[in-house]
């Protein structure tokens, strides 16, 4: 039996290892490519060990940008960062408040309100893109951060997540708060919010990455290069018309684009696990 188990473990690790390789190899390749000059990549014989052009590539990407676009990646990253943060934070605020209303208050058409929120799950940006564009344009929000952020804040995922969580909070906590003289907002602030930290962290991770990876919406509503996000920037670098694609800069940008989401996951995961271990209801 022991032999058998060892053999099975080996197979399991082999399969897992292959999975990791498939996912990780392209990333590794991007990192390697960001350390060579354009010629080495273009001739098709790029080595699999890092080259010596990293400093030059990263400096150029961050502060100057590609040869044609001439938009520094640093600025694009800042735009993406503002957008992703705006979406994540805005969504958390809106959804925690709407879930609070739907779960803890009885008002006319509460059920209807909940279902209306629920239905928006079926209407992602891609589906409602024309009306949304029209509204944003009419409000004069094209080429602004608000225009980038606001339409993506409104969706049901967060509300549903918080609603599910609030339903698991025992009613007695609310009742105890009532007897302790805490009104609805004090209950929210003193009890519900501290208990929701882990849910908030989870939602933040999901929404930050969702916001960071947005492509279609920023592509539509930003025209000025100063409002460009990094995802669009990468795309622009790859599709050049006449000149040779500067793969080393594109790869450098891609690597840079990965950094903030990875940081968010690493940082938040700690809080996430800590919360999971500590929370008990």
């Amino acid at each position: 039996m022991v032999e058998n188990r060892r053999y099975r473990n080996l197979v399991a690790y082999l399969v897992l290892g292959m999975g990791v390789a498939i996912v990780a190899f392209p990333v590794y390749l991007a990192i390697i490519a960001s350390t060579f000059d354009a010629g080495t990549i273009a001739n098709g014989n790029m080595p699999l060990v890092p080259g010596d052009q990293a400093g030059i590539n990263y400096e150029r990407a961050l502060f100057t940008g590609g040869r044609l676009a001439r938009e520094p990646v640093g600025m694009m990253m800042m735009n993406s960062f503002i957008m992703a943060m705006g979406i994540a934070i805005g969504k958390i605020i809106i959804s925690i408040l709407s879930a609070f209303a739907v779960v803890y208050f009885s008002f006319p058409f509460r059920r209807t309100a909940f279902w209306v929120i629920f239905i928006t799950l079926m209407l992602p940006v891609e589906v409602r893109i024309y009306p949304t564009y029209k509204i944003v344009a009419d409000l004069g929000l094209l080429d602004t951060y608000s225009g980038l952020i606001l339409p993506l804040i409104a969706s049901a995922t967060g509300t549903l997540l918080f609603r599910q969580f609030f339903m698991t909070v025992p009613d007695e906590l609310l009742e105890a708060s009532k007897i302790d003289g805490a009104g609805p907002f004090r209950f929210f602030k003193d009890t519900l919010l501290p208990l929701s930290i882990t849910t908030i962290a989870a939602l933040f991770v999901i929404q930050f990455i969702y916001g960071w990876n947005q492509y279609l919406w920023p592509l539509l509503i930003t025209t000025q290069s100063s409002m460009q996000t990094i995802v669009i920037g990468i795309k622009k670098m790859i599709t050049t018309q006449d000149a040779l694609t500067e793969w080393q800069i594109a790869m450098t940008t891609a690597v840079l684009a990965m950094v903030p989401p990875v940081m968010v996951v690493i940082f938040m995961q700690r809080l996430f696990v800590k919360g999971l271990v500590e929370t008990e209801k």
Binding site: E175, A176, K178, I179, G181, T191, E278, T279, E280
Partner: protein, 358 residues
């Protein structure tokens, strides 16, 4: 300190479900009142209406002569202990106890004084900085009580506070609650479905069933003279035996042809009419020393350690006799039971009311 008065209090839920059907009850200042009954009898609903957690559909609730129907829970000057303790999981024990006082803007020094005092009374001083999850069930229970004590309320409300504890701890906490209530002298209303808790804790025992009060009295009154068949079988463990019988004459009934003398029997009952005869398992003895006798067909014997339960049939009806271990041989098949006329309870088979001396 204050008493609590309920005047035809009703609770009707959506769909016309009447959970509490017009309950009137006076609870004296400083007394310990226990509401007991099976689940769904409306006892918790009643308590929650007193607390202000449920709206009152009809009638009036008064706390120390003030009608509180429309008053917020926090303003009613009550404190409540919940079944699952309902401690704030993210706050320390100290903050759990202090939270209510902070919300009413009590000065910091006063809060500290009161929390420390409560902690001393409940012996939870070493745990003040801990979080509730780091405490055992019994300690959490104490914190929940501490949270109630620091408020110095006029009334304590307990909603099955011991049912999440294991049996041993339950007995211990029961004693402590009683001692605490005596020491503080605060009017207390306690809801439980456990009749032992009800008997041991209460000054005033309220037995409820189907949204109505069945009987109110001291524990011994309720035990000695149950007013309805429901109370008779609900209070006391094992429950009272109920046998089908016949009225034979003044002070005399029969069960399966065997005559039984009764002290507490209403006058003017028609001889020959059906009647229910109640006998507590602990009130019947083996032998012939009493005023009447019955024969029991023993099926099996349950050993409880100090006592034995003899299960069997009397005149075709289930019957249980409790006897001290060793008093009777365990292999007894037929048992002659001796009954004292003072221990016989009679009930009307139709109304289930007691047919005692008016």
């Amino acid at each position: 300190m204050a008493g609590v008065t309920l005047d035809t209090v009703r609770k009707v839920y959506a769909g016309n479900v009447e959970a509490v059907k017009g309950v009137s009850l006076g609870i004296e200042d400083g007394s310990f009142c226990v509401l007991v009954g099976p689940s769904g009898c409306g006892k918790s609903t009643l308590l929650r209406m007193i607390a202000g957690l449920e709206t009152i559909s009809g009638g009036e609730v008064k706390i120390s002569d003030r009608v509180v129907n429309e008053i917020e829970p926090a303003e009613r000057d009550i404190a409540m202990v919940f079944q699952n303790y309902a401690l704030y999981p993210h706050m320390s024990v100290y903050d759990n106890m202090a939270y209510g006082l902070k919300n009413r803007k009590t000065p910091k020094a006063e809060i500290e004084k009161r929390v420390n005092e409560a902690a001393r009374i409940l012996a939870i001083e070493p745990y003040l900085t801990r979080k509730p999850r780091q405490l055992s069930g019994g300690q959490r229970q104490r914190v929940a009580m501490g949270r109630a004590i620091v408020r110095k309320p006029q009334v304590f409300l307990f909603d099955e506070p011991l049912s999440n504890l294991d049996a041993k701890l339950r007995v211990q906490m029961r004693v402590e609650i009683k001692r605490l209530q005596r020491a503080l002298g605060v009017t207390s209303i306690y809801v439980t479905h456990d009749q032992v808790e009800a008997m041991t804790l209460s000054d005033k025992l309220v037995v409820m069933s189907g949204g109505q009060i069945e009987q109110v009295g001291t524990p011994s009154e309720v035990y000695r003279r149950p007013e309805t068949r429901f109370v008779a079988t609900f209070i006391g463990s094992p429950p009272m035996n109920i046998l089908p019988g016949r009225v034979e004459g003044p002070g005399l009934v029969s069960v399966g042809g065997q005559m039984i003398k009764v002290t507490d029997m209403r006058e003017g009952l028609t001889p020959g009419s059906a009647i229910e005869v109640g006998l507590r398992p602990e009130d019947v003895q083996a032998g012939t020393t009493g005023t009447s006798t019955l024969t029991l067909d023993v099926d099996f014997v349950e050993e409880l350690g100090a006592t034995q339960l003899f299960h069997g049939k009397v005149a075709g009806a289930e019957f249980v006799v409790q006897a001290s271990t060793g008093q009777l041989p365990s292999d007894t098949r037929d048992l002659t039971l001796s009954i004292d006329a003072d221990n016989v309870h009679l009930f009307d088979p139709q109304t289930t009311k007691r047919l005692g001396v008016a």
